[in-house]
């Protein structure tokens, strides 16, 4: 699976990357610019010094010995300047650069110097005058600029992160609140979705659309619920009539064995119809919260009474029963719902176990496990949903597991199914 990125981290990455590229390209540009300014300024300064020196030298009458003396003094006081006799004429002033050791800076191997050479005539002799100034090397400039730039880059990124968090907290807050409201919304419990107010137009529209959508869903869900409820109530009367008519029909004289056989064949589907309907009524009740007050109930008592109720069916199918209750467990639930839940588990086990099979009921801590022998694993998918087929050759109401799930959901209990070593294992954690 691809790693997920939070919405706001996406622009942050892009901004950071862009800033990095720009700042990195800025380093050589800065170095070139700084170097250029340096050199221009130094050249100008050298030229000014040269003009000044030339003027002063020419304004007075210096002898050859004087010049020699001046050069010597300069050499001692200001090593960058010198004046020596020249034997050939150079056409114009020239600028040069030189690398040489600096006697005042022993740690630096070589320094860069910028010089200006010129000629002038004193007493008819041609002299060459040189002015040199120490310049920062360009690799040192590069290092300084790089350090400064990278420091700024780090400050920039930290700023981005802080700003991003700030923006996320403030402007995106309604969005995340909406997201959380949606996550915690449960169609079977909540009637309305509560969304935060927002000044941002997109969020406002998003919330409006969501509210609209949820409202429609709630309405559809309500319609479905009331349909189930009404349908099951409406069906009760015709089922009751069928049952009573059948009872009366059995009393008629002169029924042949063939007719009797047909009549008793009606009982099984009628029972099933009646069971489906009762189950729908229970589902509607749980969904609509129309069930009575919870009480503290002992789970093992209820299991025992369910076993007593179904004793005949267990004997008829020759099942062997194993019970292992490791502790006493009290649950807080409505008695009718707990009874419904447990009888559904047990009747499922009895019905679906092949004749002479095993049924085990275990209670360990807060978990109750019903295991029964079976041949093939049931179809897991949607097995706890209404009328979902769990296997191909079964006649059931199709609602037993849905009721179990619905009741478990109501009380926050967890149900699970697995198939292991030829046993269907249903567990419920109270």
């Amino acid at each position: 699976m691809a790693t997920m990125t939070r919405l706001l981290n996406k622009p942050l990455k892009a901004f950071g990357f862009y800033a990095l590229i720009i700042l990195l390209t800025s380093i050589p540009v800065y170095v070139l610019v700084v170097d250029y300014i340096w050199l221009t300024e130094l050249d100008e300064s050298n030229w000014l010094t040269l003009q000044h020196t030339k003027e002063k030298l020419q304004s007075r009458e210096f002898t050859e010995a004087d010049i020699l003396k001046i050069n010597q003094i300069w050499g001692e006081l200001q090593p960058g300047v010198s004046i020596v006799k020249s034997d050939h004429k150079i056409p114009e002033d020239s600028i040069y650069e030189a690398m040489r050791p600096n006697e005042f800076d022993p740690y630096d191997s070589e320094d860069r110097f910028r010089g200006l050479k010129s000629q002038l005539k004193i007493n008819g002799y041609l002299y060459e005058i040189t002015i040199e100034t120490n310049v920062e090397e360009s690799n040192e400039t590069l290092l300084a600029v790089a350090i400064v730039t990278i420091s700024f880059f780090i400050i920039l990124i930290l700023g981005f992160i802080l700003l991003n968090r700030n923006i996320s907290l403030k402007s995106w807050r309604p969005f995340y609140q909406t997201l959380n409201s949606l996550k915690s919304f449960d169609l079977s419990k909540d009637q309305h979705l509560k969304l935060p107010h927002s000044d941002i137009e997109e969020f406002k529209e998003l919330n409006k659309s969501l509210l609209n959508l949820v409202e429609k869903n709630v309405a559809a869900y309500e319609r479905q619920k009331s349909f189930t409820e009404n349908a099951s109530h409406e069906l009760q009367t015709p089922i009751a009539l069928l049952k009573s008519k059948l009872d009366l029909l059995l009393q008629e004289r002169g029924l042949t064995p063939q007719i009797n056989e047909l009549l008793s064949g009606i009982h099984a589907p009628l029972s099933r119809l009646s069971r489906i309907n009762k189950n729908l009524v229970v589902l509607a009740k749980v969904e609509n919260n129309q069930i009575g007050e919870p009480e503290y109930l002992k789970v093992t008592d209820q299991i025992n009474s369910s076993f007593a109720l179904f004793e005949d069916y267990i004997i008829a199918k020759n099942h062997s029963i194993e019970q292992k209750f490791e502790n006493i467990l009290n649950v807080h639930a409505n008695p009718f719902l707990l009874e419904t839940l447990l009888t559904n588990f047990l009747s499922n086990a009895i019905r679906h176990t092949p004749n002479g099979g095993n049924i085990k009921v275990q209670l360990k801590n807060r978990t109750l496990i019903f295991s029964n022998s079976g041949r093939n694993e049931l179809i897991h998918k949607h097995m706890f949903e209404r009328f979902s087929p769990t296997s191909k050759n079964q006649i059931t109401s199709g609602l037993g597991l849905a009721i179990i799930k619905e009741i478990a959901n109501k009380y926050g209990w967890k149900v699970a199914y697995q198939f292991e070593n030829g046993f269907h294992i249903f567990s419920i954690e109270f």
Binding site: Q251, S264, S347, R351
Partner: protein, 224 residues
């Protein structure tokens, strides 16, 4: 003995009248709240079969009225509402029993028998059928003064037969009587056969006539 059936569904009301009426019981049927109140106010019944959902009023109010009139009529509630709250409310208001729809007419008949019996024999809970004596309090059965040891289920079935004399009982109705509301979770009720066989054998061994007839393909019938 007089039975009043208060049921708004006409067809079901007529079926109950037809099934319950015999040499012992006379049945009257009303289908709405006003008529029911009138009957209840003017006459006494041994048992009233009361549907809670009535046109014109709530069945529970009829119960309330009976209580205020200090009537001793036995009441059995039949309701499609099938809810525990209704059951509790009904029993609190003085109903003797509660049966949720749909039910077998045989079950209703047995329950009415039981209520009527309780109202009649306050001191001595005995049912005597020829040479058979059933003691409801100690739950024992005697044939010609010889005690017959029955299991709880055989005893229940015997009472079910006695409450439905001369009527054909389906296996489905008998299973529902024994396992209650949950019997319709199962399609096969063949275990009834074993219980009836044992009951017949025990009664016969004690010298009681073979009154339980097997109706081929449909069920059983108590015939004297």
């Amino acid at each position: 003995m007089k039975i009043l059936i208060i049921e708004d569904e006409a067809s079901l009301g007529r079926d109950m009248v037809k099934y319950l009426t015999n040499e012992k019981f006379r049945c009257e049927w009303v289908s709405n709240y006003v008529a029911a109140m009138e009957k209840v106010g003017n006459y006494n019944y041994d048992c009233i079969v009361l549907d809670l959902m009535l046109p014109g009023g709530d069945g529970l109010e009829i119960l309330d009225a009976l209580k205020k009139l200090q009537k001793q009529d036995g009441v059995i509630i039949i309701s499609a509402k099938n809810s525990i709250e209704n059951k509790v409310a009904g029993l609190k208001l003085g109903a003797d029993d509660y049966l949720s729809k749909p039910f077998h007419l045989a079950e209703l008949s047995a329950r009415i028998e039981s209520i009527v019996r309780r109202k009649q024999f306050d001191s001595q809970n005995l049912i005597i059928q020829n040479e058979l004596t059933i003691d409801l309090r100690s739950k024992t059965v005697e044939v010609n003064k010889n005690q017959v040891i029955l299991t709880k289920k055989e005893f229940d079935l015997l009472l079910f037969f006695v409450g439905n004399k001369g009527r054909v009982l389906s296996k489905s109705a008998m299973a529902e009587h024994l396992s209650g509301d949950y019997s319709d979770m199962f399609d096969n009720h063949d275990f009834i056969y074993a219980h009836v066989k044992n009951l017949k054998k025990k009664l016969k061994d004690a010298g009681y006539g073979d009154y339980i007839k097997t109706m081929y393909g449909s069920g059983y019938k108590w015939q004297q």
